[in-house]
């Protein structure tokens, strides 16, 4: 195959389960069937992924959703213009805290139901109690400042009346080190993708208190970030790759394939963890700690609900959170950069020959769908959502200024 492939593509990924659609495209032949020789490289940090994209070692990579925005907005040390023509799925993250913090939360009414509002209220009460007693602020970890994890953790805390800038500390820890850091008491909690939450529960050192799928249902997570210079010069290779990712994602969604997918991801060169550890993210059946367990709807969605469509409204929501937490200034130029980063046009033109359901719009109002809803689309019918934020807020990408201003005034209330 290798000599005959029409396109040679080199892609980077981090050892996280949500790289599955990209990994399966390479390992199970979806890429080869589209005439692509796909070479996958495992990396050790997001900084490495970014650097290797910037100098052209990788044509594209598994990336955190806000990462290409951060590159294009000039927030990173070394970057090249990066675009997003494909999303690798919705959901998949959890917030896990130490046993000690869980006991403190339970004393303030937390129960093992993952309800973000109830858990947040209990955490807020614990934080105020600790502050009154003169104890250190709780320390939470996320994987990267420009990550869905950081922004959803902060969103959840802020909506529960906790100021993430002043009432807790947020540090950066690589995903595979999270469980150890929690067990050793270096951090009190973290927000990360699977399997690193179930790892702490299995070790008896942590409790899952809420999940991304309940903070913001069917919300964006990892994406395919593509070096724009390469995409511009190789439109056919990119379109072929997007089709192969589409087929791979459909395969990954099918429960009949979950055992095989878990075995692929378990390989030493991919995650190097036993297949059993990969199952909670696939089934949505999570052990929460202390013997509690729960089935979570839409915990991780690799294909359904137009999960692979790179909505501009997802990129713009990340942008509002970057503004909210002082990562970038809200200016017309920056807004334009954020608006141009995700490329639904490339997704649509690559998949059009397949005759599959494609959203007609590039953006949608986020948080408006209380129920799964059939929407207007080309091709066969398409079902989206539900996509609610747990606090009932709605993000209308046409009303960005109002959204940013509303969050700023909500933030100001903390400081009174």
């Amino acid at each position: 195959m290798s000599m005959g492939a029409a396109h040679q593509i080199t892609a980077g990924f981090m050892p996280l389960f949500d790289s599955a659609v990209l990994v399966a495209a390479g390992e199970l032949g979806f890429a080869a069937r589209e005439g692509i020789e796909l070479t996958l490289h495992r990396e050790t940090s997001w900084a490495n992924v970014r650097d290797r994209i910037a100098i052209g070692h990788f044509h594209l990579a598994h990336m955190l959703g806000p990462m290409p925005l951060a590159c294009n907005l000039g927030l990173t040390p070394l970057a090249s213009e990066t675009i997003v023509p494909f999303s690798l799925g919705l959901g998949g993250n959890c917030v896990t805290i130490s046993n000690a913090a869980w006991e403190g939360m339970a004393a303030h009414g937390a129960v093992a139901d993952l309800d973000p509002a109830r858990a947040g209220a209990a955490l807020g009460a614990l934080i105020r109690e600790r502050a009154a007693a003169g104890r250190d602020a709780l320390r939470f970890a996320v994987v990267h400042p420009h990550s869905g994890h950081n922004y959803e953790l902060r969103y959840w805390l802020a909506a529960c009346g906790i100021d993430p800038e002043r009432q807790i500390e947020i540090v950066i820890v690589p995903p595979p080190f999270m469980a150890d850091a929690l067990a050793a008491g270096r951090i009190d909690g973290y927000c990360v993708g699977e399997p690193w939450n179930s790892a702490s529960v299995a070790a008896g050192t942590g409790h899952i208190v809420t999940v991304k799928a309940q903070i913001w249902r069917n919300s964006p997570e990892k994406v395919i970030g593509v070096r724009k210079a390469w995409a511009d010069e190789n439109p056919e290779a990119l379109a072929a790759l997007l089709r192969s990712l589409h087929h791979s994602a459909r395969w990954c969604q099918d429960p009949a394939n979950h055992g095989e997918l878990a075995a692929v991801m378990a390989q030493p060169g991919i995650l190097g963890l036993p297949p059993a550890v990969q199952m909670p993210i696939l089934t949505g059946h999570l052990q929460l700690g202390g013997g509690a367990e729960l089935d979570i709807d839409d915990f991780f969605v690799p294909f359904d609900k137009a999960a692979n469509f790179p909505w501009k409204s997802h990129a713009l929501w990340y942008y509002t959170q970057m503004v909210r937490w002082g990562h970038v200034a809200h200016t017309p130029d920056n807004l334009a950069i954020a608006r141009d980063c995700y490329r639904p046009d490339l997704y649509r033109s690559a998949l059009k020959p397949l005759g599959v359901a494609l959203p007609g719009a590039n953006s949608k109002v986020e948080g408006a769908l209380r129920l799964a809803t059939a929407v207007g689309a080309t091709g066969a019918g398409l079902v989206l959502g539900p996509d609610g934020f747990f606090d009932g807020q709605i993000f209308d990408p046409d009303e960005i200024d109002a959204y940013i201003a509303g969050q700023k005034s909500a933030l100001a209330r903390f400081l009174l």
């Binding site: 050790t44 940090s45 997001w46 900084a47 290797r52 100098i55 070394l78 400042p145 690589p174």
Partner: protein, 200 residues
């Protein structure tokens, strides 16, 4: 030439490689070199050292944590940019190829930092070469051991001299277009499988 010496911090979990880089920096006249192997408590160390240049190996999974720390610049007084000049694509590529990354205090002039980066890159490459040679030497030693065992098996089972046993191995390898060590390994494995069971 050197007005005030630059403070250089080397972060590398590989102690041997870190020592090689440190030696190179000292030979080049840099006296203020600090080496850290473990990133625990690194924020405080950086605040104490106030480095002008930070050299870190690319395999370190803590790069994201370190970059975030540099950007918050509470621990590091001045903002730190990667490399001196983003337009110097060749030196950036050479560094990433060698597996090293560098952060430099903003405003430092290129001619002061470039030699440090070049030195780090060449020492990283030298270390990789050394590691590769070491691996080759190790596998050669392993081959020699397995060939000795195969010779011993042939000498015992077929009553050959050592020289005849080696000649037989060499001929078989040539006929099958394989390495002598591969033939020897096959023979040792087969002999192990065919050995009369002792406990059954």
């Amino acid at each position: 030439m050197v007005r005030t010496s630059l403070a250089v911090l080397v972060i590398d979990e590989n102690r041997i490689r870190a020592a090689i880089i440190e030696a190179g920096l000292r030979e080049a006249g840099h006296e203020r070199v600090t080496v850290i192997h473990d990133v625990a408590g690194i924020a405080r160390r950086i605040a104490e050292i106030e480095p002008d240049v930070i050299v870190i190996d690319l395999e370190n999974p803590n790069r994201d944590m370190l970059e975030n720390m540099f950007q918050l610049s509470r621990a590091v007084k001045r903002p730190i940019a990667m490399f001196v000049d983003r337009s110097d694509q060749a030196s950036i590529e050479a560094a990433v190829d060698a597996g090293v990354s560098a952060y430099v205090v903003d405003g430092l002039r290129q001619e002061r930092v470039k030699p440090i980066l070049d030195m780090a890159v060449s020492r990283f490459n030298a270390f990789s070469r050394m590691a590769r040679e070491l691996e080759e030497a190790r596998s050669e030693l392993e081959s020699r051991k397995v060939i000795d065992r195969a010779k011993g098996i042939l000498m015992k089972s077929r009553g050959l001299s050592e020289e005849a046993a080696y000649t037989l191995l060499r001929k078989t390898a040539m006929n099958q277009n394989r390495k002598i060590s591969d033939i020897a390994q096959s023979l040792v494995t087969a002999a192990g499988l065919l050995r009369p069971a002792e406990d059954e």
